[in-house]
């Protein structure tokens, strides 16, 4: 395979990996707090978090382009204070992907926390464990299927995202040209062979990630089923 075909794929993998890790770190506490929020606050948070789900990603990308453009107030502020430029940079791709893939991580985690019986958390508190320890030792391990779903869906969705990365990334080879955009370019150039190859690899990666998720969850009707069967 040519180097030019590998680079967008590697960039997509890097972007998906970073986005998945960052969203996991951000969404675990956010989803936990949301699941414990007052009903109206919960509605508001879920609505905002799911906007990227229903908006065309080109719309989101357009607004990010407008908001973060070097001539915009926020763009100028980021540039002068932090020396950060988001438009047509990999950092900008990460920011865009964080927003567009947010529901993929957030929704399964919130659902997982909401479906846990409150008594699990209460039991840990009465055992004199802190809320942080309860979250990491009791609650998170109890929602492993939701965690796996969030991780796999975020990774796969970011791999295939097109609209935001086109708008804010600008398809600069080696910098912001990810696989989904590279396929578009190859098709535009009538280079169907290269497009086929990259599309097939993306398809294989997505299939592998999703089938692994479903396989693991099918094999996990409940937390790790080791030990003897029920003894009554």
């Amino acid at each position: 395979m040519e180097t030019t075909a590998i680079a967008p794929l590697l960039l997509s993998l890097k972007l998906s990996g970073i986005t998945t890790i960052l969203l996991f770190i951000a969404c675990v506490p956010a989803a936990y707090l949301t699941s414990r929020a007052w009903p109206l606050a919960k509605v508001a948070i879920k609505t905002i978090a799911n906007l990227p789900f229903v908006l065309p990603s080109t719309v989101l990308g357009f607004y990010l382009l407008v908001v973060f453009a070097p001539v915009s107030p926020l763009g100028r502020l980021l540039g002068s204070l932090l020396h950060v430029r988001l438009v047509f940079t990999f950092t900008g791709l990460v920011v865009g992907s964080l927003l567009v893939s947010l529901p993929m991580m957030f929704n399964p985690l919130v659902a997982g926390f909401e479906n846990l019986p409150p008594s699990l958390e209460e039991a840990s508190l009465t055992l004199r464990k802190s809320r942080v320890r309860t979250l990491f030792s009791v609650l998170l391990p109890s929602i492993k299927p939701s965690l796996l779903t969030g991780l796999a869906m975020t990774f796969a969705y970011t791999m295939g995202e097109f609209g935001v990365v086109m708008m804010i990334g600008g398809k600069i080879p080696g910098v912001t040209l990810v696989a989904s955009a590279a396929i578009y370019d190859e098709v535009e150039s009538l280079n169907y062979g290269a497009a086929h190859l990259q599309a097939a690899i993306l398809l294989a990666i997505s299939f592998f990630v999703l089938s692994s998720l479903f396989f693991v969850n099918i094999r996990r009707p409940s937390p790790p089923g080791r030990g003897p069967r029920r003894v009554s």
């Binding site: 008594s119 039991a123 009465t126 055992l127 004199r128 009791v138 109890s142 030990g227």
Partner: protein
């Protein structure tokens, strides 16, 4: 010694109930809260554990205030020394039986203490099992061992045997008796079962419409002997 006065308005299917009770229990006592569903028994346990906040009143344990509405004192559940056995047992699904008990041990404890407790409740042989592999009576035993592992000042049992068949209940009555005699922890049980109350309790508080209708030894409260006292 625990001494408390608790007041809270409860909303239920049958309208609102003004829960208002004064309770006291000495070291090593086994007392039972008896009353029909919705009268506030579980809420009393939850208020003692810090899981529900009373509107008015106080909870004083060995001269130390756990809660005082006037002085704005309200210790978090982690700061109170209670072992709570929930109706649904609330065993942590991602932990084995042994891990459930080890988790509950105070920091710095020998892990063998968990094995000793599992021995005491006859669950050492299933220490490697996950909770979903256990029958109801076994889960109850593990929940009891876990509650004791935190070395609580008080043991709060919220109808822990209500979902079990009569034979298993009888077995567990024996277990509870044995545990109470051995550890001499002040225990407060919520129960509807008169046989259970007569077998286990030294004192019973009969609750009706959120108030203590009678209290005393089981034989006194349930009419075999004159009631020793009542409150409005």
């Amino acid at each position: 010694m625990i001494e408390c006065s608790l007041a809270l308005t409860l909303s239920g299917e049958e309208g609102t109930i003004d829960l208002s009770v004064d309770l006291s229990a000495g070291d090593g006592e086994f007392i039972t809260l008896y009353g029909k569903s919705g009268c506030g028994k579980t809420t009393i346990l939850r208020m003692l554990a810090g899981l529900t906040t009373p509107e008015r009143g106080h909870i004083c344990v060995d001269g130390r205030l756990w809660f005082d509405s006037e002085k704005k004192i309200n210790l978090a559940p982690q700061k109170r020394s209670v072992g709570f056995v929930f109706q649904d047992y609330a065993l942590f699904p991602a932990m084995t039986v042994r891990q459930n008990c080890v988790y509950a041990l105070p920091r710095g404890s020998e892990k063998s203490a968990a094995d000793d407790l599992l021995d005491m409740v006859g669950m050492r042989g299933l220490a490697g099992c996950y909770p979903d592999r256990l029958a109801g009576g076994q889960k109850q035993r593990v929940a009891l061992a876990r509650a004791l592992a935190s070395r609580p000042r008080f043991l709060l049992l919220d109808e822990p045997l209500s979902a079990l068949d009569q034979e298993t209940r009888e077995e567990l009555h024996t277990e509870l008796e044995k545990v109470h005699q051995k550890m001499q922890i002040c225990t407060i049980l919520v129960s509807h079962d008169l046989r259970e109350i007569f077998r286990l309790s030294g004192k019973v508080f009969k609750i009706h419409n959120g108030k203590i209708a009678a209290h005393g030894a089981p034989a006194e409260v349930f009419g075999m002997l004159p009631a020793s006292g009542s409150s409005p």
